[in-house]
Amino acid sequence: MKIAIGQGSCGIASGSKKIEEAFRRHVAEHNLQAEVTITGCIGGCYLEPIVDVYQDDGQVVRYVHMTEDKVDKVVKQHLIGHEPVDEYRISKSGTDFLEKQTRIALKNCGLINPEDIRDYIKVGGYEALKKAIFEMDGKTICKEVERSGLRGRGGGGFPTGKKWGLVAAQKDPIKYVVCNADEGDPGAFMDRSVMEGDPHKMLEGMIIAGIAIGAKIGYIYVRAEYPLAVKRLKKAISQAEEWGFLGKNILGSKFSFEIRINLGAGAFVCGEGSALTASIEGNRGMPRVKPPRTVEQGLFGKPTVLNNVETFSHIPFIIANGAQIYRGIGTDRSPGTKAFALTGSVNKTGLVEVPMGTSLRELIFDIGGGIKNNKAFKAVQIGGPSGGCLTEKHLDLSLDFDSLSKVGAMVGSGGLVVMDEDTCMVSIAKFFMDFTEQESCGKCVPCREGTHLMNEILDDIVNGRGTKEQIDMLMELADTVTTTSLCGLGKTAALPVMSTIREFQDEYYAHVVEKRCPTGKCKGLKRIEIIANKCKGCGLCLDACPANAISGKRRQPHVIDKSSCTKCKLCIDSCKFDAIVEI
């Protein structure tokens, strides 16, 4: 019997370490023949902590929302009594969430022990590498990847095989493979999940890339906010070295390859190719003018293949099964699957990997179980700060690279933040502009100054100082920043603003004309008022107000002067009669 406890970051944050301890304690106490092990995140984060019991008859029983108390019962009734505890098992809706997916990158996540290479080998791991080394050469690998139609999963959707071919064709004998694991889009976590749940798959993809282009060294650039991913990657690298999949003369062949890890230091712009390589070189991560492109002069000035974690994780499947089978999944121009991080106001949050071309409706309603608390769907932000928002009318749109860019959004990293009727779209646009302003590296003027100006205007709007003209100005600035910025950060910075203005113009007008936030979310548009018939005129608020905005005679209703009120709400705290309210 085997007990596998989900220990991705999300599982651990939900308390799975304690569950593991409890199982270990019981197994020792009762002298049970059961192995207690860990696994990565299966993607159904809303069900965590998740525990799988592998019975000796081959059946797997999955328990969800586990607690220490529940462990007691599972041990007594199931492990000892061989009778599964039905009321703790995953429900139909939970299995639906997982079974409606098609998994390639996330296939093993939550099923194998990421800290044990033997688990990966058992499910066919490193077979593709063997095939690549002994049956193929650089050229045929590049061709196969090109025929698969795989496009970069990090945002741009550039054909991966083509990129590899370009690098392979460079004359310089020194070349590099770089894995972009910076996952900067706040609201996306599929790369984290792959690294924590199935690190060897991505390593295998990188090694195959090394063969394809003739590189000897690969770098992984991981963000520092993912300590667990770093730990598991390090472990995976040293295990792969032990087993001869990495290092000198891999599997006895002439090919040698090593992988190094670089920790990011907290800068979103370092996800951009040339900034990322600058950062690995030990410099400030600032993008540079292209050309020369990374494929010609990348890391340390050498030809470099830069791909995303998920992209590399598709490679073993393609090499092992052939391009034809891969092409059978997804759409014609965007083959394969894509993992989306489904979060926000949706019932079932987590990772969803589906064929490209799946509709938003299927994702949010069929798989995600609809909107939380029976609220109405309003919009979904796709691709994070450089993406756009999609609304009701896009629900049946096919999610693939080309359809999305046609409607002014992008697949981006694959973050899908679902928003319900209570979300103010203006303040969401402001939130993203805040983010890009802060993360702009400051090298080029349109991005540095443009994002600042747009943010100032949005600040005016959410605080009731906005005018109609400012909305036009926003659009004009957006256009300038988009067309004249140096790198992708600036070029896409205005997308959230442009798409929210386009889709939710009424909401913007309500803010600037009526000085009202339709969802009531913008604090700046709220007022503090004294309800005259509740006010006893005791004067406590008058003393409490640091801005001297309250006036009134004793024992008569007081009033607040709106122009000097700073909305600090100290008066509300001071009032004994609940006579002061925020509206």
Binding site: P186, A265, G266, G282, T343, G344
Partner: protein, 178 residues
């Protein structure tokens, strides 16, 4: 480099007050490595908790990178800090998923409780608050991670009350430990 005279205005002469052995070891390890500067700064911050001025001067001396370049890097990346940090670093997520789930309210509550704002350290040196963009646990939004000498732990599905309760737990633990 040029401080040998000992009469410059900064306090780089004070580097004696830092134990340099661990840093020296690491500097030795990476001396042939291309692009090692960020690794060195990360290590230094690991050792000292922040990047003291004296250490920046020392690294500059050892690596030949100008202090200006090191300072440029240390201020470019949000991870580096030039001031000492509290015993517990609270990394409060302000990513998209956490934002739409109310992370601002949680920030307000924490700030009010600890009487600090983003980037600051409490007077007793117990807590530093840092807003970060996404910890990768978006499905449990709002989320925070607390890092101290024992490692790091992530807390999800926060409410204002829950966040304060967790922080209070740390306060009690520190008091008992002291």
């Amino acid at each position: 480099m040029n401080n040998k005279g000992g009469n410059c205005a900064c306090d780089c002469q004070n580097k004696d007050k830092f134990d340099l052995s661990k840093l020296d070891e690491f500097l030795d390890e990476v001396k042939d490595m291309q692009g090692s500067l960020i690794h060195i700064l990360q290590k230094a911050q690991d050792i000292y908790g922040y990047l003291p001025r004296e250490i920046i001067a020392y690294i500059s001396d050892k690596t030949g990178c100008t202090q200006a370049k090191i300072y440029g890097i240390a201020t470019f990346y949000t991870q580096f800090r030039l001031k000492p940090m509290g015993k517990n670093l609270i990394m409060l997520c302000q990513g998209t998923a956490c934002h739409v789930s109310g992370s601002k309210d949680i920030e307000e509550a924490i700030c009010k409780d600890l009487k600090i704002s983003d980037g600051e350290t409490t007077v007793d040196g117990l807590f530093t608050l840092n807003n970060v963009a996404c910890l990768g646990c978006c499905s449990l939004a709002p989320v925070m991670m607390i890092r101290n000498k024992d490692g790091e732990e992530t807390y999800g599905n926060l409410t204002e009350a829950k966040a304060l309760e967790i922080i209070n737990g740390f306060k009690m633990k520190m008091e008992q430990g002291a």
